[in-house]
Point group: C2
Chain length 303, copies 2
Amino acid sequence: MDFEVIVLGSGAAVPSLTRNTSAQYVFCHNRHILIDCGEGTQLQLRKFKIKFQQIQTILISHLHGDHIFGLPGLLSTMQLLGRTKGITVYGPKGIRKFIYACLEEVGKGIYFSLNIVELEPNTSGVIFEDKCIEIVHFPLKHGVPAHGYVIKEKPHKRRLLRDKFDETGVSVSYIQKLIQGEDIVDMSGKKVRSDDVTIPGKKQKKYAYCCDTAYSTDIISFVENADVIYHDATFLSTEEDRAAETFHSTAKQAASIAYKAKIGRLLLGHFSARYTSTKEHELEAKEIFEKVTAVEDGDKFVI
Amino acid sequence: MDFEVIVLGSGAAVPSLTRNTSAQYVFCHNRHILIDCGEGTQLQLRKFKIKFQQIQTILISHLHGDHIFGLPGLLSTMQLLGRTKGITVYGPKGIRKFIYACLEEVGKGIYFSLNIVELEPNTSGVIFEDKCIEIVHFPLKHGVPAHGYVIKEKPHKRRLLRDKFDETGVSVSYIQKLIQGEDIVDMSGKKVRSDDVTIPGKKQKKYAYCCDTAYSTDIISFVENADVIYHDATFLSTEEDRAAETFHSTAKQAASIAYKAKIGRLLLGHFSARYTSTKEHELEAKEIFEKVTAVEDGDKFVI
């Protein structure tokens, strides 16, 4: 598969023997991306058989321990196992100081190229782009500056209808322009419209990660039409006040965002340790939005 | 049992799915002590059913990540779960900066009393003492300042031989002095020697933790006659040069220390991830010292 997500940690605040703290691995067109890195993430990567030296990009949502305390250990292990390839870490202001404080104090610098990009609070924009994918960050509503991330495919080229094209009799040298959507006129003056000999390429896939966040419709413009969204669902609606106080969401609020943003599938996560089962989270969300999964560590989703 | 050790992590450098990085829990006469705190230690404490809010004292050997990267997460979790009781952390100079850099950067101070005691390099002495136990630190031979720790019982009082005492006819008010080893003369001038009516209390138990360290006979004066020693055995003798270069020990060198220091039982640990089995470590050590165990995570030893 070209685009998939593996949940490495779906628990809030403190790790347990059944749920680690936040982390996800995203594979998208040969890019290997880690989102968040709670304590123990390096072991979750091993457990779910993900080659962590392949990771090129780390996206950190915010500077709470349950999202970053695995980062010093992961970077150290990468180095101890002989990494030479560089890595880029994106995260809120302060992430550089945190990483260097941990690594310098322990007497070991990092010898591979460690590129740290600090994001300004309350900003959004493209942070990474290549010919296949694009990564966008946007602000979440949390107690400290926090960033959501969208990973999406670049637009796919239109596809040639070979029979229709052959009927036109123009040179094959015009194919590139036609699949880029351009109409052409050949040397003999013959006109061919792109729409007549091509069809749109397959839909761009889009994944959105929104954790940790209180309920906020401000995120909709960034996540709309995503095939899959992972949204904070720390609490059930019975704890809606507690969710608001702590800048987290209920399962119902997550479903409301998924409905309004016309999402394909909603993944609920970041569950408070007070819940031994997340069946209720799913049921509550399904009242508003049908396609919902309360995730478990190790779950894999094809986007 | 009054004195026991549970191994929480027996692997070197990088955690694996079978061995976590360094940590041990020591229970000694109602004192709850953690030694070292590699990443994931809080989960190991859960796994082996140790109530970690009971821990009052944390002893850190040195500032390498595999011995401290679990500390910020453990302290955070203690706080998130409502800890109010204070805790004392002993470790090399720099441990305070490491802890505060991690905890301040993540936007959460610690609200319970966190007493951090920094130990000078190449020094030794008593760092903790109460009526039941004593903790001593001493220098190890490692690439950065590193401390070994001895936890030992205070001398047990002499035990009264009740029949012999009753035969003397002196007042019971003299018992305390007699079991403290003092000879007495009562009001009537009657002399009673402590040795005649008491016998020595049971032997003081002693546990020594020596990790990470190169082979060094300098530690013998601190660890001698310990009932149990845990000693760095990162390598087999075939890697003796590598051990010296990296300031670690071979299983044979650990056995040599145990033999020279007249130890009761030798525990081998801090195994390099290159070894899938530690049978060879045990065999190699047994050529020099019979009572040896290559530990596994979760092993419990009564001292």
